[in-house]
């Protein structure tokens, strides 16, 4: 069926095109033509087929107001995210985090110095940056982690072989590995969302499953306005308005990953 045809196309194109082509050719080899999805060889951006109720964007982005964030808000954000996504609470250094509170200077290694005003934020929140140029997608040997056309970096837990190359590749420490079966560490399982199994990598997915149902990411909803989410390509979107209103920074921008999580300072 479908699968066989795809396999044939894969083989045929390997034969026809050889292994040629570097990154820009990814588009030629990959997403072009009849298959708008997974690249034949190189990773490519996956088309998003939005249902009738889905929220859509050209480029999803998040803006976090570091001055409005409090430890309490962050706690709520972490709680709701980890609860609805069945993120286990493992008390060791083999733990799993999709979104977490951390010190400001750990977030912005290059931007903090000792003479900042006394009231500058001491804490911040870290999550996957859904980079425009994600190193995790570049290094994944099976395309288990891939990027959608709207920018969201997704995980296919069915395909991940657990090599953890993406975790070495991610310069933000945004990824976690299931060193063990997570289920015993989930206080109450949310049946609408799968748990993971031991041996795969996971991370924040910008609540892609909620966007598909027309809902904003869960952490945004409980952030009491400290976090906004929207289309970076739309000048009227809340994220663009927030970015236009104040000065903002991103984590380790010199690495060229083009993070799409912005922090207002």
């Amino acid at each position: 069926m479908n699968t066989t045809r795809r396999c044939f196309l894969k083989l045929a194109s390997i034969a026809a095109l050889g292994w040629g082509g570097v990154r820009p050719a990814a588009q030629v080899l990959a997403s072009g033509g009849a298959a708008p999805s997974e690249g034949l060889l190189f990773a490519s951006r996956h088309a998003v087929h939005a249902g009738p109720h889905a929220l859509t964007a050209k480029r999803w982005a998040m803006v976090i107001d570091t001055r409005a964030l409090t430890s309490e808000i962050i706690k709520d954000m972490v709680e709701v995210c980890h609860r609805i996504h069945n993120v286990p609470d493992i008390p060791t250094k083999q733990n799993i985090k999709w979104i977490w509170e951390t010190h400001f200077e750990n977030l912005f290694l290059d931007d903090v110095h000792e003479h900042l005003p006394a009231d500058h934020p001491q804490i911040g929140v870290a999550l996957c940056n859904h980079c425009d140029n994600p190193p995790c997608v570049r290094v994944c040997p099976t395309k288990a982690t891939f990027q959608r056309e709207d920018g969201i970096v997704m995980m296919d837990f069915h395909r991940c072989i657990g090599c953890r190359y993406c975790m070495a590749g991610c310069p933000y420490g945004s990824r976690s590995f299931n060193f063990m079966d997570p289920r015993p560490y989930i206080a109450k399982i949310t049946p609408e969302f799968p748990t993971r199994t031991k041996g795969v990598v996971e991370k924040c997915e910008f609540c892609a499953e909620r966007l598909a149902e027309g809902k904003l990411p869960a952490c945004v909803e409980v952030s009491r306005g400290a976090v906004v989410f929207g289309d970076l390509a739309d000048p009227e979107s809340p994220v663009r308005k927030a970015l236009a209103s104040r000065y903002s920074i991103r984590r380790s921008p010199t690495l060229g990953t083009q993070p799409c999580v912005y922090y207002l300072v």
């Binding site: 290694l109 040997p141 991940c160 072989i161 953890r164 190359y165 070495a168 590995f177 060193f179 990953t257």
Partner: protein, 384 residues
Amino acid sequence: MLEKALQGTKLYWGWLAFLALLVLVGVGCYWQQLTHGLTITGMSRDVTWGFYIAQFTFLVGVAASAVMLVIPKYLHDYKKFTKILILGEFNAVAMVLLCLLFIVADLGSPQRLMNVLLHPTPNSILFWDMVVLNGYLLINILVGWVTLEAERKQVEPPHWIKFFIYLSIPWAVSIHTVTAFLYAGLPGRGYWLTAVLAARFLSSAFAAGPAFLILVTYIARAFTGFDPGKDVLATLGKTVVYAMIVNIFLFLCEVFTVSYSQIPSHSAHLQYLFFGYHGHGVLVPWMWASMIMGVAGILVLLVPKNRKQDNMLIIGCLLVFIGAWIDKGLGMIGGGFVPNPLHEITEYVPTQLELGVSLGIYALGFLVLTVLYKIAIGVKQEVE
């Protein structure tokens, strides 16, 4: 030729049985890992690669060393190496096998291993590592077997094998280059983000690999009376010492760039490895031991007189080999992950189960190496 592996002394069978026992220990430990997951290792959210990947990295180098025999023999017609060439090739077979086993041991979901072939992804360096490692394995099995068979029949090896012999030269370089590229292309990992990494990997490989070959040849000589030929090992010792000098030189280049530029994200790792960082320094004594052994090995082997003395050559090779093993098999991977991208420190120490799995894998590699050497030396002695 396989029958050569089936005829041996009690000592030979005893050694194989001992190795098989260790393999069983490894299987037992791996069973724990399969059941409970990689939680049985010392790895963590911050240090996601550990002892397994480090062994793989080191052993790729030992495997690549066959080329240090092939180049003199086939490109410079240096006939002295003819006799031990097969030892280099069969050594490469066993070492690449070890590499592959260590990679599989490190996978969180080994049952999905074939996804790498089902969904080939050339933008991942791991994909290319899979290609070059398996290729090198096949080339060395082919070349080793065909040339040995020809030798046994006392005829010239077929012409077509030359192609694979020449191919094995760039291929050997490629396996360690690609392995270095696994690390050297990652943003945000300052210790690895250096163009000199591949060159460093190759130089330490061409030191540790031939050093290992010299040592196992001595062992083979002690047990079988196999004579590698006059001065052959001493000559190979020359390769060891100069490669080790280049390795130390490249390391010092790295030290200069990192410490003179004083970019924290690069210097923090070296600081952690050699002086400890914010009170954490589990690898400090190891790293200094590695440096001292490397330099001492050079000093021993640089003197031509020492290279010609069996004992001194053995001591020098041991120093170089262990020094390089600590550098790559302990420091290289752990050091790259500490501190993590958020500049937090989580240290890594392998667990007993992790070492048990590694022991089993090593035992299996040595078992294959023993059998292959038994065949090779058996054939050589039969011909003589």
